[in-house]
């Protein structure tokens, strides 16, 4: 090599090593994925074409519950109003149609990569946080994309995702649950992007689903506008599904591939499975070989903060409304200039902690001085007129928090109304609570409002001089019509109660915050169990279903079946319409199954033996505690027999 040629090569090498500015750029492990990438459409044409037939689950490690869930799938479910604009979820999205755009969010000062955004044709902006933030607590809402954090391992981006809404793995009913977590390993090799996904679902998969997908860079394309409007796609108002034994899945899969392969399962994911089938083998193969760090995902899930029995957790919802977790039933709290309004009060024994929490919240939210935004002597917003409003704001001490003005009860249950008495009184033990209160007598006790059946239940005699609940807990006002509106705005918004007859009990109310756009659902909705149907207190399965449908009538998603109106369940995590639709579908499907078994003349024991809830037991079932799966089936059976 001549000297003439060597010099420019050395110069180029030096320039590459040291920036011209001489400021010294940090050495980066990261790979830049920015740009629009197109799917390699022939690679997964089965998923990307007009759609797979029903019943073909080959390559998906479904367990028995997952198979039952998939077999019940009627594809008209996609025409439900709540699902027409539903986006593909993160685990499915990589194999869907359409391009994907990556772009980096960079701190303008520190130049740190704070997040990587991933957008798809028909989906939401998916954010992968790169700033080291933890995953949210268990009670945080789930989304179709989930909550993702990323770290670099060399040039590979490793993404951990939790809080995913349950959705489909294949467009024929094969699904993953709300409890699934996902790891992704994303690599760039020039203009080729490789994504390896490992999805772990303890409910519907017998082992993690591992898929790899390729994309290629396209410098001359862009994502297009993709509107979606909900309309009446299906005339039927039923929740579409096939009953066990009436499913069309087996019929469809037969003749397509060997039926044993179509049933899916871990063995069907192996390359050597075809050979094993020919040799007469079945589901006897060794477990998949997993990457050493693939188990990170479940451990992340296990590490998420969980509700504890002796601590109240606060989750800001939206507008004026906060969700309090840990008091028994969830509590919705409206905090603002008018004081505090609570929907439910939790258990009696947690009332002091609830009070302490909401008063501290009120101090920080509504009573603390805020930076003055109106400067000048004649500032029209200034209450001080001639004085300096900004100085007054700075020297002011926090105003005492205003007290609880209203408690609205969603039912008479002790874990929802047990704290009524304590929380409706002005606290006197200020040393215990550690905050300052208005002098006793300045503000009246809170008004407690519920449907009249709640008062009837709580004041019912259960023995000599004894009532079902202490009189201090009883509603001070009750209503008996289909709805009840607070007579005036509270914290700047209207608050409306809807009576839901014969649902969880005979006294259930939904509470709708009309400006904050939040619904407190009480025990009509709970994400931690099957619906509790209290037959002795006038509850019914169909009433719960009506209540869930009412929530969906009132609620409006922000975009693509997500966000918008938020729903605080009686127990469990914060929800939106997509979650309520998933739960409503589950209740309707199980209702239909039990109803069909009753029509066949089956006894309760025979219905239990038929396991009509088997596919959902991993999500909502229990063999211990107060509300077991057996108790739910019994209540549903008796309710439907009436």
């Amino acid at each position: 090599m001549s000297k003439v040629r060597l010099v420019p090569i050395l110069a180029a090498a030096l320039l590459a090593r040291w920036p011209v500015s001489g400021q010294g750029a940090p050495a980066l492990d990261l790979t830049d994925f920015s740009g629009v990438w197109e799917e390699v459409i022939h690679e997964d044409s089965y998923e990307r074409s007009g759609g797979p037939p029903l019943g073909d689950y080959q390559g998906i490690p479904l367990n028995d519950a997952g198979r039952m869930k998939a077999d019940s799938h009627d594809h008209s479910e996609w025409s439900l109003p709540e699902f027409q604009c539903r986006p593909h979820s993160a685990p499915y999205q990589w194999r869907a149609l359409g391009s994907v755009r990556f772009w980096n969010e960079v701190d303008p000062i520190g130049r740190d990569l704070t997040a990587i955004h991933v957008e798809y044709l028909r989906s939401l902006d998916r954010v992968i946080y790169m700033d080291g933030r933890p995953h949210p607590p268990e009670w945080a809402p789930h989304s179709w994309s989930g909550f993702s954090t990323g770290v670099w391992q060399g040039n590979t981006l490793i993404v951990t995702t939790t809080h995913i809404k349950g959705s489909y793995l294949r467009r024929n009913g094969a699904s993953f649950s709300d409890k699934a977590t996902m790891m992704e390993y994303i690599d760039r090799h020039g203009d080729i992007l490789v994504i390896a996904m490992i999805l772990t679902d303890p409910v519907w998969l017998e082992e993690p689903l591992i898929q790899t997908t390729n994309y290629h860079l396209n410098l001359h394309t862009a994502l297009t506008y993709y509107p979606c409007t909900v309309s009446e796609e299906n005339i039927s108002k039923a929740i579409p599904h096939f009953l066990p034994g009436e499913t069309q899945q087996l019929k469809d899969a037969a003749g397509w591939i060997p039926i044993q392969a179509a049933r899916g399962g871990a063995a069907s994911t192996r390359p050597e499975y075809r050979l094993q089938l020919k040799q007469g083998g079945g589901n006897t193969m060794e477990p998949a070989r997993m990457p050493a760090n693939a188990k990170v995902s479940p451990s992340v899930l296990a590490a998420l903060p969980k509700p504890s029995n002796d601590e109240i957790h606060v989750m800001p919802v939206q507008g004026n409304v906060y969700m309090l977790i840990g008091a028994g039933g969830n509590i919705a709290a409206s905090i603002g200039k008018d004081g505090i309004l609570l929907v439910d009060s939790g258990k009696a024994e947690m009332a002091n902690k609830v009070l302490q929490t909401v008063l501290q919240l009120a101090t920080s939210v509504a009573a603390s001085p805020a930076p003055n935004k109106c400067l000048g002597m004649h500032c029209p917003d200034s209450p001080y007129r001639w004085s300096s409003p900004s100085l007054a704001a700075i020297i002011a001490s926090p105003a005492p928090p205003k007290p609880v003005r209203y408690i609205l009860n969603t039912s008479a249950d002790p874990d929802h109304a047990g704290g009524n008495g304590r929380l409706s009184e002005l606290p006197s033990d200020t040393k215990i609570l550690g905050v300052t209160f208005p002098p006793v007598g300045v503000a009246p006790s809170a008004t407690i409002i519920a449907h009249e059946n709640v008062l009837t239940r709580m004041s019912a005699s259960v023995g000599k001089d004894k009532t079902a609940a202490p009189s201090a807990d009883w509603p001070t006002d009750s209503y008996r019509d289909a709805s009840y509106k607070l007579s005036e705005f509270f914290n700047g918004e209207g608050v409306q109660m809807f009576y839901e007859p014969a649902a969880h009990t005979d006294g259930d109310s939904l509470v709708f915050f009309r400006y904050s756009d939040v619904i407190a659902a009480g025990d009509i909705l709970r994400t931690d169990s099957y619906p509790v149907i209290d037959l002795e207190k006038g509850g019914s399965l169909n009433g719960v279903l009506d209540g869930l449908n009412h929530i969906l009538d009132v609620a409006i998603p922000e975009f693509r079946s997500q966000g918008g109106t938020l729903i605080i369940p009686g127990h469990g995590r914060l929800c939106d319409t997509g979650d309520v639709a998933n739960y409503r579908n589950m209740v309707a499907i199980i209702r239909d199954r039990i109803q069909a078994l009753i029509k066949k003349g089956m006894t309760l024991e025979q219905v239990k033996a038929a396991k009509p809830t088997m596919d959902y037991d991993g999500l909502y079932g229990s063999t211990t505690g107060e509300w077991t799966t057996d108790k739910f089936i019994e209540a549903a059976y008796k309710s439907l027999k009436k």
């Binding site: 029903l54 799938h73 594809h75 796609e233 005339i235 039923a238």
Partner: protein, 132 residues
């Protein structure tokens, strides 16, 4: 040979473009090996993404009048085939064929062919006039 290749290539490109708007799985929703004929009046026209819908009032096999929901191509794809918002009108008398829903009680189907009685306007018989 050359001509066949071009036709194949064009069909392939067209197929990809169509598939780019596919939403749910048609194979999973409808009975692709069954065909049902209906004779009725257009009641509603919903031109939209990812699929359009026509609703017609027509009798079922027992003679009872029903509202039927017929899935069609996306509004963009229909526009490329010359079908605009004023091509069909409410009350038009039409004969249609469809692949019926797997759940008969749903009264829905995937539109195969449409024929308007008043002027013979039709859809579903020319190349590309399919939903996918």
């Amino acid at each position: 040979m050359r001509r066949r290749f071009l036709v194949g290539a064009a069909a392939s490109v067209f197929g990809l473009a169509a598939a780019a708007f596919a939403h749910h799985s048609l194979a999973a929703t409808y009975e692709s090996d069954k065909e049902v004929k209906l004779d009725g009046k257009i009641a509603e026209i919903l031109l939209r993404n990812p699929h359009s819908f026509l609703q017609i009032d027509a009798p079922d096999e027992t003679g009872a009048m029903q509202r039927w929901s017929l899935e069609w191509r996306s509004s963009g794809q229909l526009g490329q085939q010359g079908i605009k918002r004023d091509t069909l009108k409410i009350g038009d008398e039409v004969e249609i064929t469809m692949n019926p829903s797997r759940t008969a009680a749903d009264h829905r189907g995937a539109l195969k062919t449409l024929h308007r009685k008043s002027d013979g306007f039709g859809w579903g018989t020319r190349p590309g006039e399919t939903i996918d």
